[in-house]
């Protein structure tokens, strides 16, 4: 079966140890995690996790079914590529020759809708938010200049429209 990237959203109880149960499930069953992002929701009782995985149709189905068996998982859902807003954040520290951003770097950052967050002697730190492939392209664009550090958030996903995918239960 064809292996491809897919994105899963998981709504979980906001307890300590829950993230371990999720990642434990992935390692136990041999599912690959490409990125994982987690944060509390508007209701502090619940957290929402976005996981980007690599796998075939069989794995996609099993990931959701096995996640839903976990007691701390309220719901898990696959995001379709067409119906989903997927974005990722990156902080990128780039080597510079002077003390200030030069025109070339500024131009690249601008091209990727980025911002300069910090700079000093020999470095500049930029940030941007974009689709993961766009983040990849950003990294490739600055690679020739010299990358000192990268820190990516992992993809965040939200379904298009007002569907109740991963709806938080009423109190």
């Amino acid at each position: 079966m064809q292996t491809e990237r897919f994105t899963v959203g998981v709504l979980v109880n906001n307890h300590y140890g829950v993230l371990g149960r999720i990642t434990g499930l992935f390692s136990k069953r041999g599912y690959n995690i490409e990125s994982l992002a987690v944060g509390t929701t508007e209701n502090p009782l619940y957290s929402r996790i976005t996981i980007v995985c690599i796998g075939d149709a069989y794995t996609r189905n099993q990931v959701v079914c096995q996640l839903e068996k976990l007691h701390d998982v309220l719901s898990a859902a696959l995001f379709s590529d067409e119906e989903t807003v997927i974005t990722e954040h990156i902080l990128l520290k780039i080597r510079t020759s002077g003390n200030e951003p030069n025109a070339l770097i500024s131009d690249i950052i601008l091209r990727f809708n980025g911002k300069v967050r910090d700079f000093g002697k020999g470095f500049i730190t930029a940030e941007t938010s974009a689709a993961p492939e766009r983040i990849d392209a950003f990294i490739e664009a600055v690679r020739p200049l010299g990358i000192l550090e990268t820190c990516r958030s992992g993809a965040l996903a939200m379904s298009h429209g007002n569907s109740d995918l991963l709806q938080i239960p009423e109190a």
Binding site: G17, G20, R21, G24, L25, K28, Y58, N61, Q62, C65, Q66, E68, K69, L70, H71, D72
Partner: protein, 547 residues
């Protein structure tokens, strides 16, 4: 009412109907054991020789009674000793609640004496687990643990209770705050009913889910209604009486010839409460090459996990079979059933009176009541019992199907015997398996249980040796035991009776005079006995070896 945590635990357990606990005391559960002392009239505590034995006993108790088994141990090594028992219950979907003590909350995470992260250790082998850091959460947690262990596909749940929580006071509410899980909606049965009507050669495959779902009666009625033979997974064994003509017995790697071959000739496989283990299917593609598959299971993740079904019916197997029965008229498949009858005659019966495992198992059966509880360890003897013991009642067969735990049997026999109200119990084992947890003979003696341990003693690790014979050019690497253990003297040292047996006549004599207390029969058998039929791992029905 305000109680300290330990009393709160006991009150909650009593309220949940728990009257029997298996366990072993220790420093981190002293407060709980103090409450057990004060509440001995309400909860019976069975002291094991080792926590693993207690876990297997709670597992055996659950399999026989259908109620959740409860096991309790102290922190650290007490807790880690439960791990194999918990994993065993997980793989076989047995409702088990394991309660462990831990160091006080202020000492957690400091590598304190007898501290382990048992919640972390057991995470992959439980349905869920908890550490309770506040006594106010204890009652709710215990109630929820029982609900999780027993609902849907059953399984083990562990609750870790730090010592400080056992002494902390909290309010006992006396009722559950847990929201009951919504029942599974009934799936649409139209397509399945049509497929069943259209099938000329239907085959029903029943597993442990039929027993845990209490659907034995419906499954048999279903088979009779549509004139379909029944094959059983090892977990489903005993859910249909052996003498039911449609019952072909266990299928799979060491299944009955007729059961396995009939499956390969079927045009429709109706699988109920099974998970298509690799031991049952062999090569999955070939396994289902000739048939459509209807898979009925309560666990959605099982539908398509190992075998991709044509029709998935997720839900309670009893409700679904009842729904199908309401839609199905009686069907006749005389040609198919005639073919099945011919398959049944394929293997000649073994010669009578020789001291073979088959004859030993049948002889034991003749001395046992119909409702005897049968426990096994793991290996050749387990397969021989699964093949040849004529089960007539559900919930009488206790075996480690998924994990394959050598050393499971004696603990399970103890729990099964107690859970059944002290019915006659047989523990079939081997010298290898028995060597792992024979310390529980001490428990069988202290409880004076009517358990016969039948050791099929061949001086070797028979199943591994069989594979070495067939697949490893007879390189008998560390499977010849060269031990001098005298099991008769060993039994006597534990305070049980022991008899060495070398022929069927001696076996009959020993069983006729058998006491209502632990008895060990050391049956000396040939080390070259092999388990057949056998389908090599990853093979298919064409690869079946009869001898």
């Amino acid at each position: 009412m305000q109680y300290k945590g330990a009393k709160l635990l006991i009150e909650t357990l009593c309220d949940l109907g728990v009257d029997t606990i298996f366990g072993y005391p220790g420093g981190a559960v002293l407060d709980i054991y103090d409450e057990l002392y004060l509440n001995a009239h309400r909860i019976r505590h069975i002291l094991s020789a080792h926590e693993q034995g207690a876990a297997h006993a709670a597992d055996g108790y659950a399999r026989v009674t259908g109620k959740p088994g409860v096991v309790i141990s102290t922190s650290g090594p007490g807790a880690t000793n439960l791990v194999t028992g918990i994993a065993n219950a997980y793989l076989d979907s047995v409702p088990l609640v394991a309660i462990t003590g831990n160091v006080g909350v202020s000492l957690l995470g400091k590598d304190s004496f007898q501290e382990v992260d048992i919640v972390g250790i057991t995470q992959p082998i439980v349905k869920h687990n908890y550490i309770v850091r506040d006594a106010a959460q204890l009652e709710h947690t215990i109630r929820e643990a029982f609900q999780i262990a027993t609902s849907g596909r059953p399984g083990p749940v562990l609750v870790d209770i730090p010592k400080s929580v056992q002494t902390q006071a909290a309010v006992y509410k006396g009722f559950s705050e847990a929201k009951p899980k919504p029942a599974n909606p009934m799936p649409d049965l139209t397509e399945a009913a049509e497929a069943i009507c259209a099938a000329k050669r239907p085959y029903i495959y029943l597993g442990g889910g039929v027993i845990s779902g209490g659907a034995e009666k419906e499954a048999l009625e279903f088979a009779r209604r549509i004139s379909a033979p029944i094959g059983l997974s090892i977990m489903g064994l005993a859910c249909i009486p052996y003498n039911e003509p449609l019952n072909l017995g266990m299928c799979g790697m060491h299944g009955h010839y007729a059961s396995t071959v009939a499956q390969s000739k079927a045009d429709l496989l109706i699988a109920c409460g099974v998970r298509f283990s690799d031991r049952a299917t062999g090569n999955v593609d070939k396994y289902r090459a000739n048939c459509r598959v209807i898979h009925i299971d309560i666990d959605r993740a099982e539908l398509g996990k190992n075998v991709v079904p044509d029709i998935c019916l997720q839900g309670d197997v009893k409700a679904i079979l009842t729904g199908l029965l309401a839609r199905l008229q009686p069907q006749q498949n005389p040609e198919w059933l005639a073919e099945i009858e011919a398959l049944k005659q394929h293997l000649p019966p073994p010669p009578a009176d020789t001291f073979t495992p088959q004859n030993i198992i049948r002889a034991v059966r003749r001395h046992m009541p119909q409702d005897a509880v049968i426990a096994t360890d793991v290996g050749q003897h387990q397969m021989w019992v699964a093949q040849h013991y004529p089960f007539t009642q559900t919930r009488t067969f206790l075996t480690s199907g998924g994990l394959g735990t050598m050393g499971y049997g004696l603990g399970a026999a103890i729990g099964g015997c107690i859970g059944s109200g002290r019915r006659r119990t047989v523990h079939f084992t081997s010298d290898g398996s028995f060597g792992m947890n024979l310390n529980e003979l001490a428990t069988a003696v202290s409880q004076n249980l009517p358990i016969v341990t039948v050791i099929l003693n061949n001086g070797v690790l028979g199943m591994v040796r069989q594979w070495q014979t067939i697949f490893y050019q007879q390189h008998y690497s560390h499977t010849t035991l060269c031990r001098q253990t005298d099991f008769v003297k060993l039994a006597e040292a534990f305070g049980a009776q022991g008899v060495r047996v070398t022929c069927i006549r001696e076996l009959n004599a020993a069983l006729e005079s058998s006491p209502d207390s632990p008895l060990v029969l050391d049956c000396l058998i040939d080390m070259d006995e092999c388990v057949f039929p056998m389908i090599p791992p990853g093979g298919c029905v064409e690869d079946i070896r009869i001898h």
